[in-house]
């Protein structure tokens, strides 16, 4: 004890009573611990205990009481004393009590620091999630000629997926599903610019390959962080059923014909956007007949895992509509998400899960 005091490990501030003690606490912000008698003039130790938290809630108090004075000791502990020592003071016991108290304070401090960091992180994540949700369309076209519905289930700490509906000249509609690499605020920012650039590029432009080329070009400028976005863009003409598309490294959509036959959209060459400038994207087109459905999705669907570590994969997506082809866009989207959730069965979700359904009206309704 004397050694620690002499070596300067501990520094003492003295006060004659509770009121003085509070004044000293206010004055010396770095005080960790209060060692206090119970009987003192003007303000006793038990009252002091009640007052300390309002000055500094992180200070720990140890009270000194008469041997066997259980009533006061109990009261002190109830008022938040960390420990007590009894008179006559055994200096070894006091040394151990002080050391232990200071150690606890140390741990408490680092726990507080971790908590503060975590709070910042959590705030950042929740902000990123809100940004992500806020850019998603919430109303969808629903007419006799065609319907669209989409939904995105965000993973807890990954924010990367988005989808969008773009008005294209000639009464057509652009359907996009995208997945930004990474997570948190940087991913959310990149997502915002991807979406804005996509919307901008789609003005006065109706070739999906040219739109992707423009978005890629702009994303590549000043992209030091090597962020990228995979993006599928299809443009649907409700008049003719023509679906023209280009793909920037995204999972190819699945087509369910009116009779229930599934197939993958024939692939087109493409690389995720934001990596290489001057890429020329291929374009392809199919015709959706009345009753045909296109399901656009992100890898969060096909790569959803169950507790055994198996992935959902395309086959299970096909199975969702094995008994009956999709009847309407909203139900189909819900069915896919339900099937993924049932498959995962509580296993952690590593990635955002996005599904967008386009169904041409008519046919077997």
């Amino acid at each position: 004890m004397r050694r620690e005091i002499r070596s300067g490990d501990y520094e003492f501030v003295f006060a004659g009573n509770g009121i003085e003690a509070l004044a000293k606490l206010r004055e010396h912000k770095d005080i960790d611990m209060v060692l206090s008698d119970i009987n003192m003039p003007e303000m006793d130790g038990l009252t002091l205990l009640e007052q300390i938290p309002s000055v500094d809630p992180n200070v720990r108090s140890v009270v000194v009481s008469a041997y066997g004075d259980m009533k006061n000791i109990r009261t002190a502990m109830n008022r938040g004393a960390f420990d007590f020592v009894t008179k006559p003071i055994d200096f070894d016991d006091l040394r151990i009590t002080i050391t232990r108290t200071l150690e606890t304070i140390e741990l408490w401090r680092s726990a507080l620091e971790s908590r503060d960091k975590l709070v910042v992180l959590e705030n950042e994540l929740s902000l990123a999630n809100r940004m992500q949700q806020s850019i998603l369309p919430t109303s969808f076209p629903e007419s006799d000629s065609y319907q669209v519905f989409a939904s995105m289930e965000a993973a807890r700490d990954v924010g990367g997926d988005f989808f969008d509906l773009l008005p294209i000249e000639g009464g057509r509609v652009g359907l996009a599903v995208a997945d930004v690499s990474g997570k948190g605020i940087p991913a959310a920012m990149f997502m915002m610019s991807s979406r804005t650039l996509l919307r901008g590029a789609a003005i006065g432009q109706s070739d999906p390959s040219k739109i992707l080329r423009e978005v890629n070009q702009l994303l590549c400028e000043n992209n030091d962080t090597a962020m990228f976005v995979t993006l599928f863009l299809g443009i649907f003409d409700p008049e003719t059923g023509e679906f023209v598309y280009a793909n920037g490294g995204h999972n190819p959509p699945v087509i369910f014909r009116a009779d229930g036959t599934p197939s993958l959209l024939p692939t087109t060459d493409g690389i995720a956007l934001g990596i290489f400038p001057d890429i020329i994207f291929q374009e392809n087109s199919i015709t959706l007949a009345p009753g045909d459905t296109a399901i656009l999705y992100s890898d969060g669907v096909t790569e959803a895992e169950n507790v055994e570590g198996e992935q959902f994969e395309l086959d299970r997506l096909y199975e969702v509509f094995a008994e009956a082809p999709p009847r309407d866009a909203r139900t189909a989207t819900d069915d896919v998400l339900k099937a993924v959730n049932a498959f995962a069965d509580g296993a952690p979700q590593f990635d955002d899960i996005t599904c967008l359904t386009l169904r041409r009206g008519g046919g077997a309704e």
């Binding site: 990474g182 990228f228 060459d269 690389i271 995720a272 890898d299 590593f350 990635d351």
Partner: protein, 113 residues
């Protein structure tokens, strides 16, 4: 969980990547790779035989590694991809950016020819 085991073969860093690379451990993966790479390495071969999953955050880490190597005329090669991992690289178009080899021996051969 991701484990990176490295050895140096004739000025080439070989890194066996085991487990999964996703948002939860991508920082750990980047750190492991960055600290293993030395300026004298003329190439890095990542062996993905035991890699079971890679998210887009993981792809970005690979891309960053490739770019930083490229800045000093070194190369990043990949080898031994499972079908599942290969598919991820094919869909995203990353197979067009990075050389992918069937085996580590093939990857080494390509460097020596």
């Amino acid at each position: 969980m991701v484990n990176v085991t490295t050895e140096r073969i004739d000025g080439v860093l070989s890194a066996d990547v085991e487990g999964r690379i996703d948002g939860s451990n991508v920082v750990q993966f980047e750190e492991a790779v960055r600290t293993a790479i030395e300026d004298s390495d003329r190439a890095v071969i990542m062996d993905f035989e035991k890699l079971v999953y890679i998210s887009s955050a993981g792809l970005r880490a690979i891309l960053l590694t490739a770019k930083s190597l490229q800045n000093r005329d070194a190369k990043l090669l990949l080898c031994s991809l499972s079908d599942r991992i290969r598919e991820v690289f094919e869909i995203s178009g990353f197979d067009k950016i990075l050389p992918i080899h069937a085996t580590k021996a093939d990857a080494l051969d390509s460097l020596n020819n």
